[in-house]
Symmetry: D2
Subunit: 271 residues, 4 copies
Amino acid sequence: MRCPDEPGLIYHISRVLYGHGLNILRNDEFVERTTSFFFMRTEFTGTFEAHALLQELREALPSAADIRLSDNRPKNIVLLATKEHHCLSELLVRNAFQELNARILAVVSNHEVLGNLTRQFGVPFHYISHDDKSREAHEAEVRQVLDGYAPEFVVLAKYMRILSPEFVEAYANRLINIHHSFLPAFVGASPYAQAYERGVKIIGATAHFVNEQLDQGPIIAQSVIPVDHTHSAAEMAQAGRDVEKIVLARSLRLVFAERVFVHQNKTIIFD
Amino acid sequence: MRCPDEPGLIYHISRVLYGHGLNILRNDEFVERTTSFFFMRTEFTGTFEAHALLQELREALPSAADIRLSDNRPKNIVLLATKEHHCLSELLVRNAFQELNARILAVVSNHEVLGNLTRQFGVPFHYISHDDKSREAHEAEVRQVLDGYAPEFVVLAKYMRILSPEFVEAYANRLINIHHSFLPAFVGASPYAQAYERGVKIIGATAHFVNEQLDQGPIIAQSVIPVDHTHSAAEMAQAGRDVEKIVLARSLRLVFAERVFVHQNKTIIFD
Amino acid sequence: MRCPDEPGLIYHISRVLYGHGLNILRNDEFVERTTSFFFMRTEFTGTFEAHALLQELREALPSAADIRLSDNRPKNIVLLATKEHHCLSELLVRNAFQELNARILAVVSNHEVLGNLTRQFGVPFHYISHDDKSREAHEAEVRQVLDGYAPEFVVLAKYMRILSPEFVEAYANRLINIHHSFLPAFVGASPYAQAYERGVKIIGATAHFVNEQLDQGPIIAQSVIPVDHTHSAAEMAQAGRDVEKIVLARSLRLVFAERVFVHQNKTIIFD
Amino acid sequence: MRCPDEPGLIYHISRVLYGHGLNILRNDEFVERTTSFFFMRTEFTGTFEAHALLQELREALPSAADIRLSDNRPKNIVLLATKEHHCLSELLVRNAFQELNARILAVVSNHEVLGNLTRQFGVPFHYISHDDKSREAHEAEVRQVLDGYAPEFVVLAKYMRILSPEFVEAYANRLINIHHSFLPAFVGASPYAQAYERGVKIIGATAHFVNEQLDQGPIIAQSVIPVDHTHSAAEMAQAGRDVEKIVLARSLRLVFAERVFVHQNKTIIFD
């Protein structure tokens, strides 16, 4: 739940849960000071009637409170990819061994090269070429296939095309990208080439929700590795791939476990 | 507060605080599963009568609950050191700029070399040589000086002598050591020489509470840095010193802010 | 090349290479001080007759010098695994995309569970159960299959059985293991359970050559990640898996590129 | 030495050193591919006449080669600071214990607050207020004091004023700054406030040579630490200070040991 902060919120919530005889396994709160906003995530077990419980919580809390009840079932997701395999491979493997807390319904790509890998894991692969199509026409095709799966989340697993504001809006807070730099350093194309040019000693990767501004969405997770003058731009890219796939997988674990709140342009994560 | 876990603990505590009109700034809970023990730390502001509030909390909670009310004033501490300056320097500097959330009342050392540094910062320095003294006699002298300051915490800032069980018992959970390895690797003397011999690729440091078993006490913080075959044991030690002083300072920040619970041989840290 | 250190080694080597008109791309030297041993690795391009060049280098250098000429072709390897998939998956994926600088000839396992994954990547899978067999009999079977492939390296990708000294001897300096702790912390079985019990704040993984002593072989690469009191032993294991597979892949990259020298019980790595 | 790459450079240098009976302790080479430039740093011991050796090396190498002979005596340096003490404290302490491979000749500051700390360590402190002075007039005063010490390096230990291109030019490749962000993220003022606004999950610090473009000079060393949504901008700054001072000290160790080559806008570091 989230709402503007006021005294007694924890008390009111814990009173309702206690009244239902529910057992709190884990409880996290945070008050964002600059906006005076309260966030709380409670894991509990016990027997309850969801509608009644929600109703009672709503009555106990300010009317502005945004309350969600959720079980922990795997999320339905679709992946978008282009040519690089490392993030896709990572997710397909985890999916195959039920480690993703999600079901990959399909992979959509503007290239064919990742088709065999995807099908090998028994996941449908949709090749939608962008050749001879306008950006709008291509995206419309992608969108149609995607919407057909009704995914809860869409993951850009190194999808190298920019999505329209309409697309982003349709999947607001449900569209996750992995950017191959330590944002906000090296926004835009070819971040490893930029990093090489700048002579940095550390490179990184950033998993973030996509919003209407390129590479500006709320950051979920970041990670880095050291490099030095012996690394060419290509070697930086190679080293960076290991970071990218791990940081993307970690961010998905957090999001799919509903540990991530988006507030304005930031994330609050109860890890 | 801490007590065996049972339903309603958060509810009971938040009810009492709400009843007093107190404003919760931050709230952290943790249930240790293997022992089914509940830990909670609440930061709040407001006007209250401490005795009455404690009394009410005690009545609201199980009789086994261990409840503490604390303000956030700086702790009184004494440092023990030997010859190496880096941890002592770090703490003296932070103390001088009021960044330690503590007051260093004195430094006690079995060598003279750190005397000038200490006095330069206006802190009393007690040189208690161990020459020609039994271990017991030396420790008794140290103990007498130490007890005279009635410190809330004693920090072993690279103090290279082993303390007796009686000493450790007297300062139980108030005696903090920095060990120059990534425990439990390289327990005992000369950890960098051991690390060099073993050919490790990462070295580290561990800040921990001291208990009756050498290097076995509850770990507060650890940190590491990479090394390689070009590092001699002396160079590993040099590189390690930067990690040691930072990890010690970090662990003290946590302990002095009362964010650290000791439970059996582990720490629970609400960072 | 490697040999006891003496003046002029770099000069003699560079003279021979210069005389052949070869172009040095990269040159690394190291002198291990405690044993006064010299190590050098030179990457060069150009046209030469290997036998004559080697002969000339041998004449120019002390008779004790160990000199190797090597091209950079992919190594032939066999993997041993048990039940956990994460290291195996990582290597199979990299193999499929030619990122391993090696060819996985086969996977041998004492369990069946990883068979589908392996075959899915077109790699032969040998299931050799240890049920109802002595340790010796089981190992002999594994050994026979393994030797049939004549691999240049054998990688223990979470193979959970201890190998005999004879096995280790047969694959000396060609047998690589990933141990799921930051060695030498937590030698032996169940390192994550040990780490949980000890209450460490950082866990790690170690890739090393296997020698006759359990978990004591020369370390190639190590990596760590932070954990805290909220991690159960199972969650530490889960978090550790990401580190294990990356550190194993990294160590293989180094070994297969012939950047790793083993000297006594340590590695010298020209990364 | 450095020069455009060509075959035989290592051979020619090692021949001269071998001819003088000098013993190479450590040798590092690097060829920068995009500009085809060769860099080499050799540590050697032995008896030689410097002028003759240099002369012979110059004759053996291309005329474009830039060759330097250097002993390893401590460098003379001056520090510039403003109000924050942490970097200055770090360097004063290391200086006091001869760990800096340098002598701090003086500290110059535009504020008075760090005077006591500096003098306490027996180092001259020059307070040059910028009140009621033009930028040019103030810098001229600073410059005059600085030049009086004829320092080999000038270290900006959190000096918060921008220096003129003339100043930077006068101390080209001898002027080192610590920037409190992971450059090129958060160039300019208030990087922690920027980092907080952007919601990053990692913050860092960058030590770099200063050139005529703000925060654009060659990077020497970078380091990072994780942060999360609970950190205010002030807490990020506090956490960042530990990284700043360590990364600055590390970069100075490298520079003062003459391990750092500047090439175009990057550094080549033989660590």
